[in-house]
């Protein structure tokens, strides 16, 4: 039998060097960081032979690992105003927090929390994501972020905005981490926006963890408006208590390569979650949405709806895995991924997986991909719409279904605006 000695890529070597250099200067959690880096280093950067990364070869994409960004001296401009209290996180460092927070909400920067050993840190880390390279690297390098706590029973009427802004002219890496603890029966809306410079191959790796107590309600929406050369990793961990209700929507427009991973655990009975996503891709963009939904307790209901539009030579990836444990009887899971391919060389990779160990459940998944429906186009054109407009209308309707699941109006408008400008740019080409 041939013995294979893995060769380290320049990126893997840089990561090791960076960790050895920084591990004593990064704030707190030294043991956790070392353990996380060791778990990452066991397998190195994931490549196409690693099943979960089959369609997104991170090792090939990451030519070199850029240095971790310093805290910017000035406050970068350009973060969208969603009319909500806003935390500004620039290059992975918290630059500003709202002057006042809604009643029942407290926030502390992760840097302070790590240095002081904040009690909420015990909730950091998701067993479902253990061994995942993006997550382990975030844990090893996390620079700063926010720990948000919503007290039990509090309904927060104002949404909270986490604005991630990246700035720089040379490639850099970021590692921000956010933990949101939502108390039992509390209700909160979280908005995340991500943006950065065009033409710079920067490498953000963020992780957001939401721990929802029994009966909590959480609405979460995220916009990926990163720069066109960025290589973006993002992870979202959702841990749902009994009878919680959660929606999360991710809109992908930016980045050269992006991978958004969702790890959702139904830790209490009868929790409900809908996890949705849309992506509009052109040029040679590559966008990967990967989710693992783990129904550990009975009576859970999960809904996943993903819509991907792929133009030019871009590629879309959807990997969704629903796990139903033996105990999780009466689970109802439905997952749907739809893709429209517009360019001759566009590609879509779908992998909707089911792993079921309980016998009294209803689980379904569907995946479709194809071109725009000729009949629908013909119908619209017969009614006097020029072809580009007819196409735009159909595309808008296609991804609009996901936008509609965003409860916050300001965020919905931002997403709709991005969709319109994407369609305009397409028509102009």
């Amino acid at each position: 039998m041939a013995i294979v000695t893995p060769m380290k890529t320049p990126a893997e070597t840089s990561l090791e060097g960076a960790f050895a250099r920084l591990r004593d200067t990064l704030p707190g959690a030294a043991a956790e960081r070392r353990a996380a880096f060791a778990r990452y280093a066991e397998r190195g950067l994931p490549h196409r032979r690693v099943e979960e990364w089959k369609y997104t070869d991170l090792r090939a994409a990451l030519r070199d690992a850029a240095p971790l960004a310093e805290r910017p001296a000035a406050v970068p401009a350009g973060a969208p105003d969603l009319g909500a209290p806003r935390f500004l996180i620039a290059n992975g460092h918290v630059l500003s927090a709202p002057a006042s927070l809604p009643a029942g909400v407290t926030a502390v920067s992760l840097r302070e929390a790590l240095t002081a050993g904040h009690p909420a840190l015990s909730a950091l880390g998701d067993p479902l994501a253990a061994g995942n390279a993006a997550v382990e690297l975030n844990t090893a390098f996390m620079t700063d972020g926010i720990i948000l706590t919503v007290e039990s029973g509090v309904t927060v009427t104002e949404p909270l905005h986490l604005a991630f802004v990246n700035e720089g002219s040379q490639p850099f890496a970021t590692a921000a981490r956010v933990l949101v603890m939502v108390g039992g029966g509390a209700s909160v809306t979280l908005l995340e926006t991500h943006q950065g410079p065009a033409g710079v191959a920067y490498q953000p790796n963020t992780m957001v963890e939401i721990v929802a107590g029994d009966g909590a309600r959480v609405d979460h929406a995220r916009l990926n408006g990163e720069g066109d050369a960025a290589i973006v990793l993002s992870s979202l961990s959702l841990r749902l208590g009994r009878e919680t209700e959660l929606t999360s929507v991710n809109g992908v427009f930016g980045a050269a390569l992006s991978r958004h991973q969702v790890f959702a655990t139904f830790a209490g009975e009868s929790a409900k979650a809908s996890i949705n996503g849309l992506a509009l891709l052109s040029r040679t963009q590559h966008a990967d949405s990967t989710l693992v939904v783990d129904h550990a307790e009975p009576g859970g209901e999960s809904r996943e709806l993903f819509r991907t539009v792929v133009d030019d030579e871009a590629a879309g990836v959807f990997q969704g895995k629903i796990i139903v444990r033996q105990k999780a009887q009466k689970t109802d899971g439905r997952m749907m991924s739809g893709a429209l391919l517009l360019g001759e060389a566009s590609a879509m990779y779908n992998k909707p997986e089911l792993e079921i160990f309980a016998d009294d459940v209803a689980c379904a998944h569907g995946a479709t991909c194809g071109a725009l429906d000729e009949d629908l186009l013909f119908y619209l054109m017969a009614r006097g719409l020029p072809k580009p407009e007819a196409e735009a209308l159909l595309l808008q309707a296609f991804v609009g279904e996901v936008v509609e699941t965003v409860s916050n109006e300001a965020m919905r408008e931002v997403l709709t605006g991005r969709i319109e400008s994407w369609l305009k740019a397409r028509a102009a080409r």
Binding site: A2, L341, P352, I356, F357, D360, A362, H365, G366, G370
Partner: protein, 490 residues
């Protein structure tokens, strides 16, 4: 919703403890020395009377195999296999080239009789209407003991014989096609098979011929501690048609036995091959002792325009199944079909599915897969549908449903859907709730309850799949036919 009682009873009727083909034929056999090395390969080659090129082909494969690793990606779990602790060749001693049935050991004839496989042509003619005749190639451990209706098939120009005979008698055809669909280097088990394959069937249907009868091979593992490595090669020349059936059983034993087959199908312009399997290898006992490890590579190549290959399988046996009958849709307008029902009981582990690889223009494929798991078994559907950039207007429809009976088993679905052309339309669904509202409305309107209506529609649908099986296998599949998939999960 949970499975209905009727389904539970039917699955129980074919539970591992009910295995009916577990008897052993006591017969002396001629075996290769235990273990696997170049000498074993040469021994097999000599026994088969291989020409020089074939021996070299085997040795190349063997050398290649030594550098390969066992695949571990499938969702199956078993202790490491000691490839040196098995016999790679076993043949009934008396079988040295029997010229007629009278020369075959009566014990073997008795075995096939017990299995319900007709080897005497006159008996078949006497009992069954001529249109239902089946030509049989009976493979006992490592050798083909009999092939029926050879003469009549010859008149139609059809070649149907054991692969070792084909290597000797039709070397040009074999050299032209062998290993062109499943290359020697394809995967661990296919490479092993290429080195040590012993027997199997060879079919050649000449241009424009519709094969006058169904062809079938019946595989029987009898000897202890032996692996069976059969190789089947079917070539349908332009405009021809053939329907081929395969059945397999083995005695009950406490140790595991390896079965690593390779099946290659080649369909040229406008040809059609229909390949049906009822796989009923010994599944092991309720505690998971014994049973066959079934690691099979089956692949069809629609090499010509408008060629069609259809796989139908009913899988109830084997301790471990690792099997993905696939279609390469190379010719423009070609079509691939895969119909499967996999039932797992006891401690069985099934990881099965298909690959539809669309390369040509206007190619279409259809996948219907039903998995039923009971006991402590694990049943996985794993399938790939891919469209190459040049496969314009490729179409696929996939439907895979699974049903669990009891809370100690698992059902899993792992589909890969890869489209690299915007004109391809792929649809994948895994649900039973996809019954059309029209059908449902119609049934409800006529006074059926929703449950009855669902059962009726779903049953009708399953029967559709089973009707893909040729008549001859209907009896074996009978028990499965009426299995209701009510309560299916995705």
């Amino acid at each position: 919703m949970p499975a209905v009682q009727e389904t539970i009873d039917q699955v129980r009727a074919i539970d591992v403890s009910e295995y009916k083909y577990g008897f052993e034929t006591l017969i002396e056999s001629d075996k290769a020395p235990k273990g696997l090395n170049e000498d074993t390969v040469r021994f097999i080659s000599a026994k088969k009377g291989d020409p020089e090129w074939m021996t070299e082909w085997r040795l190349d494969a063997f050398r290649r195999w030594q550098t390969m690793r066992e695949p571990t990606w499938a969702r199956v779990d078993y202790p490491p296999i000691d490839f040196q602790d098995a016999y790679y060749y076993a043949a009934p001693k008396s079988s040295a080239a029997p010229k007629s049935l009278d020369e075959i050991d009566p014990a073997i004839l008795e075995t096939y009789k017990k299995l319900g496989i007709p080897l005497r042509e006159q008996e078949i003619l006497a009992g069954v209407a001529p249109e239902n005749r089946v030509a049989v190639d009976a493979v006992f451990d490592s050798v083909s003991v009999a092939t029926t209706f050879k003469d009549e098939l010859k008149k139609a120009g059809v070649i149907f014989c054991s692969i070792s005979e084909a290597i000797r008698e039709h070397p040009d055809l074999v050299r032209k096609y062998l290993g062109t669909v499943v290359p020697v280097t394809d995967n661990f088990y296919a490479t092993l098979n290429s080195a040590v394959f012993t027997d199997g069937s060879f079919v050649y249907i000449p241009e424009g011929v519709r094969c006058p009868m169904e062809l079938s091979t019946y595989f029987r593992i009898n000897e202890k501690n032996t692996g069976q490595f059969e190789r089947t090669l079917i070539i349908a020349d332009k405009g021809s048609y053939v329907s081929y059936l395969e059945g397999c059983t083995a005695p009950m034993r406490d140790e595991n036995q390896l079965h690593a087959a390779v099946v290659e199908l080649i369909a040229l312009d406008d040809a059609e091959i229909k390949y049906s399997t009822v796989q009923n290898w010994y599944p092991g006992d309720a505690e998971g002792r014994g049973g066959i490890y079934n690691f099979v590579t089956k692949r069809g190549d629609c090499r010509g325009r408008n060629a069609k290959i259809s796989w139908t399988q009913v899988e109830t046996g084997s301790a471990i199944t690792w099997k993905y009958p696939s279609c390469i849709l190379r010719g423009d307008g070609s079509r691939g079909e895969f119909y499967s029902i996999a039932v797992s009981n006891g401690m069985q582990q099934v990881d099965s599915g298909t690959k539809m690889i669309h390369l040509g223009k206007n190619t279409t494929s259809r996948i219907i897969s039903k998995g039923i798991s009971a006991g402590r078994s694990q049943n996985t559907y794993r399938g790939l549908v891919s469209a190459h950039r040049k496969a314009t207007n490729a179409r696929n429809f996939t439907n895979c449903d699974s049903l669990l009976i009891g809370d100690k088993c698992g059902a899993h679905t792992v589909p890969y859907i890869e489209s690299k052309t915007s004109t391809a339309v792929f649809e994948h669904e895994a649900t039973t709730s996809k019954i059309s509202e029209d059908q449902m409305f119609y049934c409800l309107q006529r006074g059926l309850s929703e449950e009855e209506a669902t059962a009726l529609i779903v049953n009708g649908f399953v029967k559709d799949v089973l009707q893909q099986l040729p008549m001859e296998f209907a009896v074996e599949a009978q028990k499965l036919i009426s299995i209701s998939l009510e309560g299916s999960v995705g």
